[in-house]
Structure formats: C-alpha cells, structure tokens
Symmetry: C2
Subunit: 460 residues, 2 copies
C-alpha cells in the first residue's frame, strides 16, 4: 500500500486556502494539511476595515469557509498553529499549537508557502503601547473594536495613507472619532500620482479628516496607553492609533530555509509559483511577482493576486502545468464617498522603469449629463511618448470608477495604444455612461499628447 502524497500549506488565508482547495479538487488522493497562525482561515482581510467601521457587525461574515467546512472536503486546517521552521532537505517542518502545545515535526512531499505579509511598522518607537494596532487579521479588527468599545475614544490617528490607512481613516470617521492621517510621502495614496491624490485629499478634508503629508512619525507616546503621536514637531492627540504603513513579505521561514528572495524580499517564484527548490511552491503576499508592463519583479500584495497565485500553485502541486501571468497593480479603494482606482504604472514608476511618459487627464461624467445621478469622474491615462502604448490609468470619482479602471487594465493586458483604446466599442446608455465614455476621451487626449509631443521633439 502506497502512502498518500502529503501536501502541507503554510498559511490559511487567500493564497493558502486557494492552493489547498484547488489541489483537493484536482487530486482527491492528496493528503492536504494547512497551518494558519490566526484563529481563522479563509477570511477576507479586505473586509476588515468595514468590520471596524461597524458596516459589517459580525466578523463571521468575513469568513468564506470554516475549518469544519474544509474538513468536510478532506482538507485539514489547523488554525492557531505556527510553523517555526522548514527543512527543505528532509522535507519536514516544525509546527506548534499556539494554545500551549509543544512543537512537533511533520513531513511533507509538497509544500506551499503562503505565509502572507507582516506590517512594515517595526521602526516606530512606542508601537507596542496599548491602543496601537495594525490590521491584518480578524483578531486585529476585534481588538480595535474592543478598544473603542471599552473607552471613551475621541481621537484617532492613522499612520500611513495607503489603501488600508485610508479605509481605516474612513472607518474611524464612521465611528465618530476625530481622525488624523499622517503620511510620510508628500501626498496621500502614494500609488496614485500627486494630481489624483489632490482629489482624495479634498474629499478627506471635506469629510473632516485631517491629513498631514510629508512627515515622518517620530514616536507614539503615552503612559499606560497611547496618548499622542509625535510627528514633524507636532503632537497629535490619540486615543487609538492604527499603523498602516504598508506590508513586507513574511519570509522568515523562507529566508531561514535559504529560498531565494528578490529585491523586495519577496520569495522568488516562476510562472508556475515554483520556488526553484524541488517540491516547494509559494504564493500570495510572501512572493514577488512579475510586472506585466516592465517585465521586472514587483511586489504588489493584493487579495486578487493571492487568490490567483494560490490557484496556480494548487493546480501545479496536483500535477498540473498552470501559469500566473503577472500583475498590473490594479486596485480600487473607497475613500469616504470617493472611489479611486489605478492600474499599471504611475508617472514616477513609469519613469523609473525607463519609459518616456506622457499623460492626459479629463474630467467628465459617469452618466449622460441629463440623466439623474451623474457624477464627475477624472480619468488620467499614461502612455509611452511616440508609440502611444498605454502604461497606466487612474480614475477618481463618486461612481463608476472600479470597472472603468478594469477596462483600462484590459487594454493594458492587450498591449493597446491610447489610439486603439479610443476605438474600443464600449457600451452606452444614458443611465450608465455618456456617449463618449470618459475613458475614451482620456484615450483620445493621451493619443494626441503622445504623438504631438513626439512630433515636437523631432522638430527640435
């Protein structure tokens, strides 16, 4: 009797559970075990700010599938288990039940590392004070809710104005806390260009959220609990602080096991999510990935990517030959009543990647101008000078942003020029768009900018 092939997955959120599920579906004979450090598996981390805001009162709504449900499918999920070391030569790992259990050694034939990311907050003095939080897990969200519920919290500070930072500022506003956002870069949401960020800053100001940009946090201070944030010479009162200054790939295990890491410290994987060590795959926020526009490595830790990579890893663990193509960094975030989307390269990113960039912005409407409920949309497109090849897009407005960004993302996947995008046959009816969709008008202006400026250059 031959033993069943043993697959172990480290990390039970997006990438890990996608890998486990996919492997299970493709090969019913695999013995699949998942270890997850938190108390929950298969939850939507992206829903956590809305749980804090109170919009989603029950944290269980964020759990897609429970360990019991996975067990019924033949996938063993051990939550509250920490994997402490991986041995890729002996094909074992050390794991410990965090509820006081002793560590034990478990064998594997195939390993999927989906260890996720950890908050990049290590440098801030005072970050361990009670009342200072990061937000990665359901437990984090519960702790924030409990802290607010137990105290007369009035003032909140969010450190970092990225996706999570802005969502958390909005969540605190929903909880009636006077909220200040402190961002090190010179504008909010560093993943969009400064001109687009201006619209976000205006929305935050209109909603009474204070924003301080271009300032580094010196320390978080307080006696037995957080009381203030010291930044750029100012002291900002704080009953609660959330640090959302981005994440780093959690590669503690991978580094110790000598798996190759990339320039952003993510685990290096090929298109099949293979690490280069036989029998070891990796997926999700612990990996670096390939950017489709410049072809180089990129670190874009997002749930969509984690799910896709997990599926690919799971398929290949089960003997498949699937590939993850790469990312464009497409993302969307709701900031109060504003929707902000981006895809591809920003101006600075594109310049860094060696592109000669032109851009054009248009402000137009989400629906026909005579149709009730229309809102203004600003669409910015970036293209390569001369060729007009699209490099990225950013949209900000009060409705209709997310899927318009996806149209631009699709055009980027196609390698389209701005002129080609202008010719796209997009849908139109007065309740949904103007007859010239803002994306098409932006494409036209970008095409003109790409060629006109190119001509000007030739003439010089």
């Amino acid at each position: 009797m031959s033993a069943r092939r043993r697959v172990v997955v480290v990390g039970g959120v997006a990438a890990g559970m996608s890998a486990a599920s996919r492997a299970r579906r493709l090969d019913p004979d695999l013995d699949i075990t998942v270890y997850e450090r938190s108390h929950f598996c298969s939850y939507s981390a992206c829903g956590l700010p809305y749980h804090v805001a109170g919009l989603i009162p029950d944290h269980e709504a964020l759990v897609v599938r429970t360990p019991e449900e996975f067990a019924a499918d033949g996938v063993t999920v051990n939550v509250h288990h920490e994997v402490m070391a991986i041995n890729v030569v002996e094909r074992t790992l050390r794991v410990r039940n965090m509820a006081g259990g002793r560590s034990r050694t478990e064998p594997w034939d195939a390993l999927v590392i989906a260890a996720g990311a950890r908050p990049a907050s290590s440098g801030i003095p005072g970050k361990s004070l009670p009342g200072v939080f990061t937000l990665r897990t359901i437990e984090d969200a519960q702790a924030i809710r409990a802290w607010i519920a137990a105290r007369d919290c009035r003032e909140a500070v969010v450190i970092g104005a990225g996706y999570i930072g802005l969502e958390m500022a909005d969540a605190f506003r929903a909880r009636d806390l006077a909220t200040t956002v402190v961002e090190r870069a010179d504008h909010v949401l560093p993943l969009v260009d400064p001109d687009v960020a201006d619209d976000i800053a205006a929305e935050l100001a209109a909603k009474g959220i204070d924003v301080v940009c271009g300032v580094t946090v010196d320390a978080i201070a307080g006696k037995s609990r957080v009381q203030r944030v010291l930044a750029g010479g100012a002291s900002i009162a704080a009953d609660i602080v959330v640090i959302g200054v981005g994440v780093r790939p959690d590669t503690t295990l991978a580094a110790a096991a000598r798996l190759p890491l990339g320039p952003d410290d993510g685990i290096v994987v090929d298109e099949g999510m293979r690490t280069g060590v036989d029998g070891v795959w990796a997926a999700g926020d612990c990996c670096q990935t390939r950017h489709l526009l410049h072809g180089g490595p990129s670190y874009v830790p997002l749930g969509t990517t984690a799910n896709k990579q997990g599926r690919v890893a799971g398929a290949n663990v089960a003997g498949g030959d699937e590939r993850f193509a790469g990312v464009l960094g497409t993302a969307v975030v709701k900031v109060c009543e504003l929707e902000v989307g981006r895809t591809g390269l920003g101006e600075q990113e594109a310049a860094n990647a060696g592109f000669d960039v032109v851009s054009a912005s248009v402000t137009h409407l989400s629906r026909a101008g005579y149709y009730p409920g229309h809102e203004q949309l600003r669409v910015k497109l970036l293209a390569e000078r001369g060729s007009g090849r699209l490099l990225g897009g950013q949209i900000v407005g009060r409705e209709g942003v997310a899927k318009r960004v996806d149209v631009i993302a699709a055009a980027l996947h196609a390698g389209a020029t701005a002129a080609e995008l202008e010719g796209y046959d997009l849908s139109y009816a007065p309740p949904f768009a103007p007859v010239w969709d803002p994306v098409l008008i932006a494409a036209r202006k970008t095409a003109e900018a790409a060629t006109a400026r190119a001509r000007l250059r030739e003439a010089v």
Copy 2:
C-alpha cells in the same frame, strides 16, 4: 481669391454633427453647412425614452449644442430642412426648407451623408392611426408626451422588444400605463441569447409589464384613433402604441445617387468612411460597418458608433487619414431595475458566422457577499471551441453590468482567449466586486468548457 472649400453634411444628429465639428476644428477655412430634417440638431436620441418617462422633464436637456452654438463656431446648421436629392456628378444637392420654402440647389466640394435610420415599421396595417408612434426624434417624444397628457390613457402597447421597445415599456410603466410588449421573436431582446432573455422577461413580469413573444402584429386598429393591437389572434386594448421593431438605414438619397449599398442596405464605406465616390463620405446609422469578430459587414445602429464614425469622416473631409476600426455590437440597456449588457456575437450569430461555439454562465455577486448592497449578476461568455478565443459576452443584473461588459469588450478587442481573460488583473475592493469578479469566474468556466469539450471531441 480662392473660394473656401464647401462641406455639406446631410443629417445633424450624432454622426453628422460629430463630422461637422471635427472638420471645423481641424480646418478653420472650411465652409461647413449641415441640413437636418427635424427641428433639433445634436440631440441625444438615446435619452428620448427618459423624456417620455418624465425622468428628464425638459427636452432641451437632450440637446447637446444648438444651431446658434454651432454658428458661433462657424458651422451653419439648417434645421427643418430636407435634402431631396444628391447629385454626385455635379456635386450639388437639392434641399428644401420644410417650413414652406421652395427647394433650391446647393453645391458642395465634400459631402458627408449622415442621414441616420428610419423605423422599420412599414408593414403594419393601421400604423398611421392617431396614437401610434415611433421614436427617433425629439418631436416624436414630444408627440407621445402630448398624446398622453391630452387623454385618459390607461393602456399602452409596445411593438418590438429591442432596446427602444424595452425602454419605452419601462417609460410607460413609469407613466402608470398598463403596458404590453409584443415581440415577433421567441424571446425579448433578440440581441441576447434566450437564457439571458429569460431574466429580462422575469423582471418585466415582476414589474407588471405583459410580454407576448413569438407573435406577429396583424394590425393596429381603431376608429378615429388607436384602440387595439391585433396580434396572434388576440386583441390587446391600447390607448397608445409605440412601434419599436428596429430601424433600417435611411438610404433613400444614397440609393438614388447610386452609392453602393450592402446586404443590410447600409451604405458601404471603407475604414475612412469613404463611400467609393470621390468627395462623398458617410457615417452613422445609414452605413453598414465591419464586425471585428467575423470581419464581415454588420449593421449595428448605435449612438457610440455614429459619434465615432462621424469624427473619422470629419477628420478625413478635412484632409486627415483616420480610420474607424469596426464594431463589436457592445450595448447596454436598463430594463426597469435590471441592467442588461452584451458585446460581440450571440450564440446564434456566432454559429451563423461559422464558429464552433461553447458558452458558460455564472451567477455571482456585484460586490463582496458581506458588503451591503450587493446584487446578483449573471455573466455568460461565448468562446470558440478548442482555441478558447472569446466571441462574446452577456451580463444581466441589478448593478455593475455596463462596465463589466466593457471589460469583456476590451478582451474581445485584444483577441483574448477565455483563459487569458481569467488572468486579467482586475480591481477589487469589497464595495465594488467580489475578490473573484464574476467576469473572471465566467472566463474560467468558459476556458474549461472550450478545452474540455474539445478534448471530449478528440476522444470520440
């Protein structure tokens, strides 16, 4: 002194005014005159049903630019003028002021025919009875509103369940009329597949709109005004009837001038909107166009296409060399609270074009399942068996349909396979989409169907 080059445009709505405006912008020296049969130029025909519904009370809101505004730009727009004949040898036309004026002959150096379409209603007995309308112009909408306002209308019949027919049924419902839709085909909205149409029929039924499919109207009957519609042996009471059985290219002038017409009777044009007769361009609903998926001629009279073609014609009249690539037939329509979008080929169209088609449908959510306000969406994708190349898509749901259809349209422009679409890096945040967008899941299922069934075939 050389005379200014004289450009005459026949038809002053979407294509015509786009052509005139574009030519004006590119060449300030042109002498540009537009003749338009109705009292209005540059209006949104797609907004007319909402004017009838009462959602847009003022018809002037539908007018993008008035003749006075065009005059200020140096474009002469003569509304209520009918062009009676074109002479492409002498480069003249006969035109008549419909307010009692005598006809006169006008010369042109360049002619743009943007005569639009006419309702395809000629065959129905009784169609001239008072109370029977079609809907192409602002005057049509005003006449319908006046008819309802002057009478105790209770029952309405809409003949034809295409885009306009369904929008008009919704408009009559908004006016509290008991409404019946009669459609000759065996399902509503013949431009979507029968299974998608089932969802539309359910919405119409839920909103109290009666639908009779698979039935031809024998006659519209009444004494001094419309009183009933006779169809399939039944007599349907009607205080007002709108005929929306589609349109035909208005090629009276073009045919008389011996311009080549295509299989759908549309004027044959090349990519530059040239008719083949020197100095004569055509654009908009009077033309046939090229379908990007099968490469053959296609007649898809839509405002977006008319605007794009008009711009190209205008640029080329002014000495440019622009091209209109072709159409996918992308469209979206709001039916009561339902949004219905489609792009590319339907099942029957694809089969007719010689494709071996597979399809897959998924029902999923418009936002994360835990996020308030999510709605169900049904996405159907069509692909070529074996290759998996995408051929079309249809979406039906209560929000987020239009721009998701545009993502599919963009994938069609890219010539993408279903598997490639599955890998698209689309945006995700809980308020806007589930982590796996319904479009991506549909792409996955379609890719599986395309290859699995292909394998099955090889095995047979």
